[in-house]
Structure formats: C-alpha cells, structure tokens
Subunit: 210 residues, 2 copies
C-alpha cells in the first residue's frame, strides 16, 4: 500500500490547484467517506493517492486524459507492490471514473467515493481559492460580466474572456448535484453555500452593487 | 484632468492585484466617497487614477516606495496639463498617504478618501481574490497553520511560510478599523464580514473541521 508520505514525492508541492495538498485533502475526505459508506478502505486510499499522479497540471499536455495516464501509472506502482490484478483493476476504475466529464456506467462504491472526494475539493473556501488560482495562472480575470449567451447556453460570445466567475456559473455551482454518496452530499451543503455566497459577493462588488 | 481611458494605458491589464481593474474600482469608490463626504472631486479622481502608477507590481523593485514614485509621476502628468502647483501638491499628498504602513499627520479629506477607497479593495470577495492571487504569484500557499508565535506577535517561526491566511490574520482583518471616513466604514461592514467568513471557512476546511 503506497503511503501519503510516498505520494508527496509524486506531486508538485507548490501547485495551488492539483499539487500534493489537493491530494492530501482528497485522501482524507475519501477516507472519511469510505468509513461512513462502508467501502473498501485500501482501494479508496490507493486510488486517492494515485488519482492525479500524471498530468494534473492545468496546462499540461496530458490534462485531457490524465485519468487514463494516472490509471496506467497506478497499475505499475501497485503491481510492483504485489497487488493482485483484480484489486489493481478496482483502483484503476476509481481513477478512470473521477474525471468530471467522463461518464462511467455503474461505478463501484469506491469509484463514487473518489469522485465525490475530488469534487468536494472544488466547493467551499478551498474551491474558491483553487478556482482563483487557476484563473491567475491562466491569465484570466477573477470576474468578467457573463454575456446573455453564456448565461443561457454556456457558450461565450466572441472575445468574451473566461473568468473564475464563468467557471463558477458553468461548472462549480452544479457540482453538488453530481455527487453520488449521501455522506458527500452532507459535507457539500455548507461548502456549496459558501461557494455561492463568495461568487455572488464577487459579482455584486465588481458590479458596484456592494 | 486625466481620464479613466488614459489611465488604462498606464497600468498592466492582466495584473490581478494592482492592474487597471484595481485602479478602476478605486476610482469608482473614491468618487462615491468624495460625493458623500463633500470632498474635492477633481483632486480625488486624479489621485485615484495615478495612485499606483509606478511600481505597483508586488515583486517590483519600486514596491517599497511606489507611493513616492507615483507622486513624482503624478506631478509630471498634471503639470503637463497645466495644473497649478497647490492642486498638484494636494494630489501628491493623497498618493503619498495611501500606503498602509506610512503614517501621514492630519491627512486632507481627499487623502483620507483615497486611502479608504484603496483599502476597501482588500476587503470583501475582491480582497479575497486579490490576496489569493498574490499568494499564487509569490509561490505561497493559500493556507498554512499559523504558529502560536505568529498569532501572538505577528512574527513567524523559522521555516513557517507566509500564506494568504497569514496575510488575513496580520493585516486584512484589521483594515476596517483603520478607515477614516464614515462612508467607507459603512461600505466596509459587509465586506469585512465577507472577508472574515471566507478565511474562517478556509481554515476550517483546511483543518478538516468543515
């Protein structure tokens, strides 16, 4: 079983979005969900440690298929530790299924838990900080007034920049409705409320209303 | 009188901390405070447009005396527009006095207004975004547990990193008590509450309490 200390070496320390401290939070949250939901703790822990091991940096060339790359590396790491093939496959299923845009049919309980733990880390004050950090590093503004077109279709007008606020509208505010487990939904209540409060305050201040 | 459109060319568009959109917000806020407080609108506007014109970038070599440099450039800009020396001096006083750590004795109403407008921009959701952006660009974490020593003296233990949360504890949460004008204090109430709510949620999430 790989440990949190081992995993520290696999991730960039200073990446404010997908660095080791994201992995550490996902690991702790996934552990908590696994205990509450009665999941296989060893599978969940290994999957959490390895879920972003390849290509998690936002502009990285592997970003689009980082879940596949990470699943491949996970298999190598666990095989080297003597894990049996069926349990390696169970970890790989979790890692493949954690990506927001990838639909996996009937994911295992452990896969649902990794997905939820990863998504809880884009909500709340931590989610706000990571979203702002992403925008800063991508050269995007915190806020730009969303066009009517973006509000209704999710598609931007020509020349309309993406902003942290756009990311909130398009993705973050919907995350809580995508969670699988009741345990995660309980944790999400407060974090979703804090996320919404933050971005609504940002819009109000930027528009001179507050 | 220099205009907002002129000022756009003097500031980096993409600086998420002291770029043009900070200047634009300070200009709007200062204008509002000047109207409410009965200040000289032309002095306040010119001072707001020119207050960070030199060396506002956080790691810039001029950061420590950016208020002096900006005051010098302001005098050149306004003299070229034919402003009389006493009114140029009034704008310079505002710019010199806006820096948080510089005490100016008996600042003018216009200087108090620029100070307040600039400080209101480190509170609220905008202040959170700017503080997170500063930490990201400086390679600092969003959060690191503050030491007992930092909490009691404001000095860090050897090896203790600065974080956005440290900045909140050391400086941001005290800003509202430094404001001069009643109009600014009214605007600060909500923004201070939002700032505190955000950073307390960040600490709670990072410590696994929320």
């Amino acid at each position: 079983m790989p440990t949190l200390e081992q995993a520290r070496a696999w991730y960039p320390a200073r990446d404010p979005i997908h660095g080791f401290d994201h992995v550490e939070r996902v690991y702790r949250t996934a552990e908590r969900l696994a205990l509450e939901e009665g999941a296989d703790l060893e599978i969940v822990r290994a999957a959490a440690l390895l879920h972003d091991v390849q290509g998690a940096e936002p502009e990285g060339e592997h970003r689009a298929d980082h879940h596949e790359q990470s699943a491949r590396i996970a298999a190598e790491v666990l095989a080297a530790e003597g894990w049996p093939p069926d349990r390696i496959a169970a970890v790989q299923e979790c890692i493949r299924a954690h990506r927001f845009r990838v639909g996996v049919e009937n994911p295992s309980l452990e896969a649902r838990i990794l997905f939820d733990a990863d998504k809880l880390d884009v909500l709340g004050a931590v989610g706000v900080a990571r979203t702002i950090a992403y925008a800063v590093l991508a050269g995007q503004p915190h806020y730009h007034p969303p066009s009517e077109r973006f509000l209704t279709t999710g598609e931007k007008e020509p020349g309309e920049p993406h902003s942290a606020y756009h990311e909130y509208l398009f993705k973050l505010r919907k995350v809580k409705d995508r969670l699988f487990t009741a345990s995660a939904r309980r944790i999400a209540e407060r974090r979703h409320a804090d996320l919404v409060a933050y971005f609504e305050a940002l819009a109000a201040e930027m528009e001179g209303r507050q």
